[in-house]
Symmetry: C2
Subunit: 210 residues, 2 copies
DNA sequence: ACCCTTAGGAAACAGTGTTACACCATGGTT
DNA sequence: AACCATGGTGTAACACTGTTTCCTAAGGGT
């Protein structure tokens, strides 16, 4: 009955893995809620464990340590960003691109705690792994696709879409970052953002000298 | 002999204040060196005290706490940035402006630990005071002056120099911030920075549509 | 000579991430 | 059915962190 045994063992392992996954997502949920509610500074192993109703040991068996949780939150942050930018409705390429720019800002303001984890190293001991880094580039590639469409339709001059997307990303990130950091109040933040979006887009336009 | 007493007391107080200032700058020096050498994470009250050769109590009497030290390092960081941008030699307004842009990046890369304190909230409990915030805007105003000269000479179209400077700042900060964060390696960082500088400058040019 | 203010060091307190150890409750084995 | 083995879990400790308290020593003022 080796096959039956194997099957039983497999289903056991599967059930165990499923349970593990359930606990993992529950823990991640608690951590995410805590992050959003109380900020990165309050993201403590003991507090997460308390919210989860168990001891910190569980967190260590699941995530290995705080860095593991941080990495998962980092991924979640970039996933939210990706979703926000990906859900921008299609339309003419240029307005879609600028809409993605605004989606970037909206997402950053709506998930500022996540944004701090992603770009401000808000969790002290943590630096993302290579794999997490690679996953974090998905929003960039979505942006690059939008840029490519602008180039294909002749709105933008021929160029490397990825390089152009990186420039746009840097501009958006700079404006959002300063806005979140509280530099100069936030009164003209929208106008500043619009200017920056317009300036960088104009640079790649086909009818410009650049 | 009231006058003599007063004089003596005054000189005493002055000597004491001078000594206090000496200790203060020495402590700040130690903190700054530690920050540059070992990064913001290693900036510990006990370590600063050890390097200074005294107990942590001294740091508390001088700075009130770690936030006081952080604020002083923040000021120092912005002062270095201001000096770097102010030392750009005069020339035709536009090349001076772009030179200031490059000075911004050079300073950020040369003082990355300070940059982290200034813009990445690398010291957990610290948020700058209103006064420190105001002082941090000096580099921005230097940039605004350079922009104003571009407008006066007709290189740039008429606009609010401060608003334009804020846009340029956001662009520069965004590129530098992503570069320091290690996103995508640093191979094309210079080219990206040049593009961003050119794009934002072009936007404000007099001969453009913007 | 006495006092008194003040500066500074040692140690304790509350908090952090992390780990070692004992426990128990499963499942598989004899 | 009794036994063992293995894995997950909680408690408590360790090494840190920033901060505060207390005590001591030293020095000018009366």
């Amino acid at each position: 009955m080796a096959t039956e045994d194997d099957a039983a063992a497999a289903s056991m392992a599967a059930a165990r893995a499923r349970a593990h996954q359930v606990r993992r997502t529950a823990a991640l949920d608690a951590a995410g809620n805590l992050l959003e509610r109380a900020g990165p500074g309050a993201l403590t192993m003991r507090r997460i464990a308390t919210e989860l109703g168990c001891s910190t040991t569980v967190l260590y068996t699941i995530f290995g340590g705080k860095a593991g949780i941080a990495e998962e939150l980092w991924r979640e942050g970039f996933e939210r960003l990706h979703r926000a930018m990906d859900h921008v409705p299609a339309g003419d390429p240029l307005s879609r691109l600028t809409a993605m720019g605004w989606a970037y800002r909206d997402n950053a303001l709506a998930n500022s705690a996540y944004y701090a984890v992603m770009f401000q190293r808000a969790i002290p001991g943590f630096t993302p792994s290579e794999e997490a880094y690679a996953a974090s580039l998905r929003p960039l590639h979505a942006l690059a696709d939008a840029v490519a469409r602008c180039i294909d339709t002749g709105v933008f001059a021929p160029a490397d879409p990825l390089a152009a997307a990186r420039v746009l990303w840097a501009a958006a990130h700079g404006a959002v970052s300063l806005e979140l950091a509280g530099f100069e109040g936030r009164i003209d933040a929208e106008e500043r953002y619009a200017t920056l979006l317009g300036a960088t887009a104009a640079w790649f336009m086909a009818d410009q000298a650049g």
